[in-house]
């Protein structure tokens, strides 16, 4: 019986050999890959023991780590936020079980593990100094952000606002309202409460965790008429004086009325493109869209940044931006309504700010970005963002004509005089979007200033404001623009 016992011993040795090989594979070769798996929720809590770099807005640390351990104890870093509610949609929060915003997307730089910091890390290892995360400096202008935020706070309504420097694409303001204070959800001394607070935010009907500026799509309403007008000028060679039928109502399945004073654009006669933009005529723009055709209108929208739905085409700033939609329509009725930013057209506030910025920057849409530069603990630059062209939305002459027409919107006879800044020409476009249900309309304003030398382009949307873009959204947009140009 000894032979089979010996063979059984060898077999048990093989079993142990298999276990040892597999353990070597997991702990020796696969360890890095497993640690980097997105299912690893530990990477957040683990790194509480390492100092994390600050996030900087306007020269001030708006997110930073502070050692809260008693003297002599191993370090424990608590993440702190200044002006949490104001900046959280951008900066995000770094919790023990997850992260959002810049805290998430720039995590490897903030915690110092990024390859771009490898040389510095190596130096720290040799000199024995404690490794520190990098400083991430943002493009946000505190005055612009504050102006937008206060607008929503005073109004008491939900919504979002984005401000871009049209010549670079730098995002100067990204407001999402309501917001939350990141300090409420990051406590490491009372983790249970932090988790409970976060859980409460998750179920709140107003969705404070949602970054409306980047990740919520709204029907853009009449602000989309800028895209339709661009398409008419680019594809049909239309000019400011080109006319289009502008009946008081247009039959599109069911009648489309005008929202202009008296329900008319030009007394029922054909209306010029310039006047249609100035007073926001619905019927002429529906006809323009039908004339341009569904495919061309959709392609024009794509040139502004719409329809980038494929994973590799998606815009990141560096947070992922929800793609805006303007699909090609075959049906005349649907296409007509798409021309005034209804039916299947949906856009994020950032996308509409890019539309305004494209017009402002002679037709070139710059790639929007939030991170201006990343610096080492010793302030030497690790990365510096260089502006780049995202897309060519139109010719320079079209942009120039559109600017002139949009300036008339903020004039005394336009639909958005509340967007005007005294002494400065402001180009704008109002929008009031039907939402289909019982809820009130979304109220939009997009624009840029100064019209002749644009320094800031904005888009503001009031969620279910129930008023008009000119009355509710334009004042907020004006305040944000004033923060830059005055």
């Amino acid at each position: 019986m000894n032979t089979p016992i010996r063979r059984l011993s060898v077999f048990s040795m093989l079993l142990f050999g298999a276990l040892m090989l597999q353990l070597t594979w997991i702990q020796g070769f696969q360890a890095d890959a497993i640690r980097e798996d997105p299912l690893n929720r530990r990477q957040y809590s683990e790194r509480l023991t390492e100092p994390r770099g600050p996030i900087v807005i306007g020269g001030e640390n708006v997110a930073y780590s502070e050692n809260i351990a008693d003297e002599g104890d191993p370090a424990r870093y608590q993440r702190m936020y200044t002006d949490g509610t104001l900046y959280t949609p951008v900066v995000g929060s770094f919790r023990s079980y997850g992260a959002s915003g810049i805290e998430d997307t720039e995590n490897s730089l903030l915690d110092g593990s990024d390859d771009r910091l490898a040389v510095r890390n190596f130096r720290d290892m040799i000199t024995g100094s404690e490794p520190e995360g990098a400083r991430v400096e943002l493009t946000i202008d505190p005055a612009v952000q504050q102006a937008g935020f206060n607008g929503f706070k005073d109004l008491g309504m939900n919504g979002a606002a984005v401000a871009i420097d049209p010549s670079t694409g730098a995002i100067l303001g990204a407001v999402s309202y309501p917001s939350y204070d990141a300090n409420d959800v990051v406590s490491i001394t009372d983790q249970t409460e932090a988790i409970e607070n976060y859980g409460a935010l998750e179920v709140e009907p107003d969705q404070p965790l949602l970054n409306r500026a980047l990740n919520e799509r709204y029907p853009p309403g009449s602000t989309f008429k800028i895209v339709t007008a661009t398409a008419a000028m680019e594809y049909l060679d239309a000019g400011p004086d080109s006319t289009m039928d502008a009946p008081d109502t247009l039959e599109l399945g069911h009648p489309l009325p005008n929202a202009t004073p008296g329900g008319t654009c030009n007394g029922g006669d054909p209306d010029t493109l310039a006047h249609s933009i100035q007073i926001s005529c619905n019927t002429s723009f529906a006809n323009w869209a039908i004339e341009v055709g569904g495919k061309n209108l959709s392609e024009q929208a794509t040139a502004f940044g719409f329809n980038r739905e494929k994973e590799e085409e998606r815009l990141t700033v560096p947070m992922g931006v929800t793609p805006s939609l303007a699909p090609p329509e075959d049906d005349r009725n649907i296409l007509g309504r798409a021309g005034i930013g209804q039916s299947n057209v949906e856009a994020t506030p950032l996308q509409m700010a890019m539309v305004a910025a494209g017009v402002a920057n002679s037709g070139e849409v710059m790639r929007p970005y939030l991170v201006d530069s990343v610096r080492d603990a010793d302030r030497s630059v690790v990365t510096q963002t260089t502006p780049e062209v995202y897309s060519q939305a139109m010719s320079a002459s079209t942009a120039s004509d559109l600017t002139d027409m949009m300036v008339r919107v903020t004039g005394p006879d336009g639909s958005g005089p509340n967007g005007a800044i005294s002494g400065i020409d402001v180009a704008g476009k109002t929008g009031t979007a039907e939402t289909g249900g019982e809820m009130g309309t979304h109220n939009w304003f997009i624009g840029f200033a100064p019209a002749d030398d644009p320094q800031v382009a904005v888009a503001v949307v009031i969620e279910h404001g129930g008023g008009s873009g000119g009355s509710l959204a334009a004042p907020i947009a004006r305040n944000m623009m004033e923060a830059v140009v005055l």
């Binding site: 019986m1 048990s12 079993l15 142990f16």
Partner: protein
């Protein structure tokens, strides 16, 4: 088979080496206390009182067992006890460290109860050594052992007594006290198989019907009537396990069954038939039972976020793997890891906890010690002269080996993860007592195998008076 053969080539020299054992036992005590001390330093920056309190209790228990061996089993293999103590001590230290780390949401077993069960296990072991001088008497209880095994496996299914938890009926509970009878069932089954197979081995290995293709023999099939008692016993055992949904124990017992059958008959046809039947049954179970499908899904698609998020999904397994990944080659240090955030980190997942804190280096050491223990068991089997003892020793050694493989193979995704305890390391009274009973049997058998051959006390005459 002859009991009169003076020296089989595999026999072990009659050397006691109890002092070598004492040194090794002392080492295991130092390792246990050191592990608790390091864990305390890592967790709270101070050497914990537990190092002295619990460490010395463990040390006293270990030394008492060693001293008992000197008297009741002086020729026992000197490596078996230190190996068992090392595993038990590391387990105790790990349980203290998991309990001491504030995990918040997950409760872990306390070191106190684990030490109580260690003591009970050691007492069982010593009592067995004391009362069972000749393990061959167990051979008389062939069918009683079978009955005991089946009753133990069936107990969790008794209404009001069985407890269904974590997807398997593995526990029974009475008066706020729970135990896992299948831990003892495996010992009863090994005893049953040893005695049954020894009586039937000639028939099972010789009488056969050859299956031929042309002139080539493919397989020797046993006769149906030799097969029947075995089939009946195993259909009952495996059937019960399918009902209790305890896949791990099912796999463990069936694997042991095949191994012992092979040792008895030395015929691979049994193993091939058995494996085919088991794989067939497993495939069938997968079709029928959602529970087993889920297990296989977790095995193959552990890192699929959907499987991870599912209730009873791969979250625990993935957390264990991530812990091992953090452990890397050298570990995070005893107490330095985050294993206490994993569910069952002290029982079914204790190996993952150890892998994180001690790294690949540390678990290799632990595996080698387990392997050493298994090989000493096999050595006892080789050195023994009686067939029943050979079967019993190799059976017990293989049960320990295969149990570690089923647990650790599950944790490392060699096989599907099944709930089972690691011998000696995991928290749990039943597992510890069963493990110490198995060590008792091995010690007793090795003591008998190594004891010097009886000396004749008178030189002449037809009848010799011998002293054992």
């Amino acid at each position: 088979m002859s009991t009169t053969a003076p020296e089989a080539p595999t026999a072990l020299p009659p050397v006691k080496r109890r002092n070598a054992e004492l040194v090794l036992v002392g080492l295991t005590i130092l390792i246990t206390m050191g592990a608790i001390a390091i864990a305390g330093l890592n967790l709270n920056n101070q050497i914990p009182g537990a190092m002295w309190g619990y460490g010395l209790i463990f040390g006293a228990l270990a030394l008492a067992t060693h001293v008992a061996l000197r008297f009741i089993a002086p020729y026992a293999d000197p490596l078996i006890l230190p190996c068992a103590l090392f595993l038990n001590g590391v387990g105790v230290a790990m349980i203290w460290r998991l309990d001491a780390a504030e995990s918040g949401e997950i409760e872990h077993a306390g070191i106190g109860m684990q030490l109580v069960w260690t003591a009970v296990g050691m007492i069982f072991c010593i009592a067995l050594l004391f009362f069972l001088k000749e393990p061959r008497v167990l051979q008389r209880y062939t069918y009683i052992s079978a009955l005991v095994a089946i009753i133990l496996i069936a107990l969790p299914m008794v209404p009001g007594l069985g407890i269904n938890e974590y997807g398997a009926r593995r526990w029974i509970g009475f008066g706020g006290f729970t135990m896992q009878p299948s831990e003892f069932a495996k010992i009863a089954l090994v005893i049953f198989l040893s005695s049954y197979l020894v009586t039937k081995r000639q028939v099972l290995s010789l009488a056969a019907k050859s299956i031929k293709v042309g002139r080539f023999k493919i397989l020797d099939l046993p006769r149906a009537r030799d097969f029947m008692p075995m089939v009946v016993g195993w259909v009952i055992a495996i059937g019960l396990l399918v009902i209790t949904k305890d896949l791990g124990t099912s796999l463990l017992l069936f694997g042991t069954f095949l191994a012992m059958l092979y040792v008895a008959t030395q015929r691979s046809s049994w193993v091939i038939i058995g494996l085919t039947v088991f794989i067939g049954a497993a495939a069938l179970a997968m079709q029928i039972f959602w529970h087993f499908r889920q297990r296989v899904d977790i095995w193959f698609n552990a890192f699929d976020p959907e499987v991870y998020e599912r209730l009873g999904g791969s979250e625990q397994l993935v957390k264990g793997l991530i812990g091992m990944a953090y452990g890397g080659l050298f570990g995070t240090g005893f107490g330095g890891g985050q294993a206490h955030h994993i569910f069952a980190a002290d029982s079914d997942f204790i190996f993952a906890s150890l892998a994180e804190d001690l790294g690949l280096t540390g678990v290799m050491v632990i595996l080698i010690v387990v392997f050493l223990l298994v090989q000493r068991g096999m050595r006892v089997a080789l050195a023994s002269r009686e067939l029943f003892i050979k079967m019993l020793a190799s059976g017990i050694a293989f049960v320990m080996c295969f149990q570690v493989f089923v647990v650790l193979g599950g944790l490392t995704r060699i096989i599907p993860l099944t709930g089972m305890t690691t011998p000696f390391l995991a928290a749990g009274g039943s597992a510890l007592m069963a493990s110490w009973l198995m060590i008792g049997l091995l010690l007793r058998m090795s003591d008998n195998a190594r004891r010097p051959a009886p000396q004749a006390i008178q030189d002449e005459g037809a009848t010799q008076v011998i002293r054992r």
